[in-house]
């Protein structure tokens, strides 16, 4: 079996709110998880169990209290929790993709440009980037008339598809999917399921949160219960 692309070791996260009498909110502790190429691990647990916190800790967006998150990058493991910012940026640019529930991008840049951006940052030339962006936006059935417009005024489902396009345009070896299908209709969900399967077929390692049972059944290779590592309050 090939080596895992993500190794989460003994991970703990407790939030300390200094401006609220130093209130502490323990989320999880001693969490262990490995994800191999071609695996799609779906995080389960009720709302508030820490699924998103785990995702964000793996991405380096949240700072874990303890433990390590090792991501295979250029043939070596980089511990996201301890790497320098420029190293994390490099891992994110080339290895680790993240699809959030919300489009948090520059509201004024035209959609096509936004989708091309991750490719341009990786040195792909403009023509090829444009072609791939157009192909993907068409596959996601985003009306062509929208491509030249900034997504600020789009509907939730349209913004979500721009968001998905921005991440799936790069064939990231590791992807984190935080409810990518949340505001999509059945047809668009099916398209996203197809994109996820293609990613798995080329050997990507995926971690996802899906509330939609159909999507979960269609892509999960196993479930991971975050509650099992619930930290004591």
């Amino acid at each position: 079996m090939s080596s895992p692309l993500i190794i989460v070791e003994d991970l703990a996260k407790t939030f300390v709110l200094h401006n609220a009498d130093d209130a502490t909110i323990p989320v999880f502790a001693g969490l262990k998880l490995e994800v191999a190429p071609g695996e799609c691990v779906v995080l389960s647990g009720e709302s508030g169990a820490g699924k998103s916190t785990l995702m964000r800790s793996i991405y380096g967006n949240y700072l874990p209290t303890q433990g390590a998150v090792r991501v295979l990058h250029d043939g070596a493991y980089v511990d996201i929790t301890r790497a320098l910012p420029f190293q994390v940026m490099d891992v994110r640019r080339r290895t680790l993709g993240y699809v959030s529930q919300f489009l948090r991008v520059i509201p004024r840049i035209p959609t096509l440009q936004l989708v091309m951006e991750p490719l341009l940052e990786n040195g792909v030339d403009v023509e090829e980037a444009r072609e791939r962006a157009e192909t993907l936006l068409a596959a996601l059935r985003l009306p062509r008339a929208h491509w030249g417009l900034p997504p600020a005024t789009f509907s939730g489902g349209e913004q979500q598809r721009v968001n998905i396009a921005r991440s799936f345009i790069r064939n990231y070896p590791v992807m984190l999917l935080d409810e990518p299908t949340a505001s999509l209709d059945a047809e668009n969900r099916a398209i996203v399921v197809q994109l996820i399967r293609q990613a798995l077929d080329r050997g990507a390692a995926l971690i996802g949160i899906f509330h939609d049972q159909d999507v979960r059944d269609a892509v999960a290779t196993r479930l991971f219960t975050v509650n099992d590592f619930k930290a004591a309050a």
Binding site: R56, G60, N61, Y62, P85, M89, D90, R108, I109
Partner: protein
């Protein structure tokens, strides 16, 4: 071989160690240390009086510190303490390898010279003598910052604040600097003008692979522009990290207060 992929090199372009500056009994900044690499954008955030402008002025060679070292990877001498270079060498390095975008365009432009002359001046200062080439470069840069090239001979005061700021940006990038300092570059502008300038700066920084140190008190500007942040309070750096980590999961009490104080619209 795969397509060339741009990666940030590991060698620092600027290294700051133990930087301390006081104004009499008043602390400007104390024991500030950090590094910046080619292609990185570092944001320095904090409220007024936190020391962020003092840091910027010290590291850009404009304000000698009381203690500490500021080393820059100069193209002529390699990594050197900028305050140990001779005055002419330091000035030459500043002209050749750095840019400095002021909050107020009046501080960064010569108001009596034309917009075009302001943009071309750094080339002349660096020994450019071919008028046609310099004019072509100036026109190219005016276009890049989306200014009407027919107004090349107008004085800065005839341009709006946002346009003046774009002239200042062109003036500071035309000579191909490796490191650009920015002090609240969108500070005095209307929001829509600010937004357009930010988009432009983002694009230029990405296309040119610049290292940028940007001082701002605006968290939205920090999130948009910076790869990583340094949060200052009372002259000290209280937190550093990736921009989204500092803004989404701030650790220090002051950073938490700063982030939770941002108004949402």
């Amino acid at each position: 071989m795969n397509a060339m992929v741009q990666t940030i090199q590991a060698a620092p372009l600027l290294r700051v160690e133990g930087l301390t500056k006081s104004y009499g009994h008043v602390v400007g900044c104390r024991d500030v240390s950090f590094e910046i690499r080619p292609g990185e954008v570092l944001g320095i955030v904090g409220e007024s009086g936190s020391g962020k402008t003092t840091v910027l002025n010290c590291i850009s060679g404009r304000l000698p510190p009381n203690a500490g070292r500021i080393e820059f990877d100069t193209s002529r001498f390699g990594l050197s303490d900028i305050y140990r270079l001779s005055e002419p060498d330091r000035r030459r390095m500043q002209r050749e390898e750095w840019g400095f975008v002021h909050q107020n365009p009046r501080d960064g432009l010569r108001m009596r010279a034309s917009g075009g002359a302001n943009v071309a001046e750094p080339l002349m200062n660096l020994g450019g003598r071919h008028y046609g080439k310099m004019r072509a470069a100036t026109i190219e840069w005016l276009e890049r910052v989306e200014l009407d090239t027919r107004r090349i001979d107008d004085k800065p005061r005839h341009f709006s604040g946002g346009m003046q700021q774009r002239i200042q940006v062109a003036r500071n990038l035309i000579h191909g600097p490796r490191l650009v300092f920015m002090d609240e570059p969108t500070g005095g502008l209307d929001v829509s003008v600010q937004a357009r300038l930010l988009d432009l700066l983002r694009e230029l920084v990405r296309d040119l692979g610049l290292a940028v140190i940007i001082v701002t008190h605006d968290m939205a500007v920090a999130r948009l522009m910076a790869d990583r942040l340094m949060v200052m309070k009372g002259g000290f750096v209280v937190e550093t990290g990736l921009t989204d980590q500092v803004l989404d999961d701030p650790q220090h009490p002051y950073s938490q207060l700063l982030v939770s104080s941002v108004l949402q619209i």
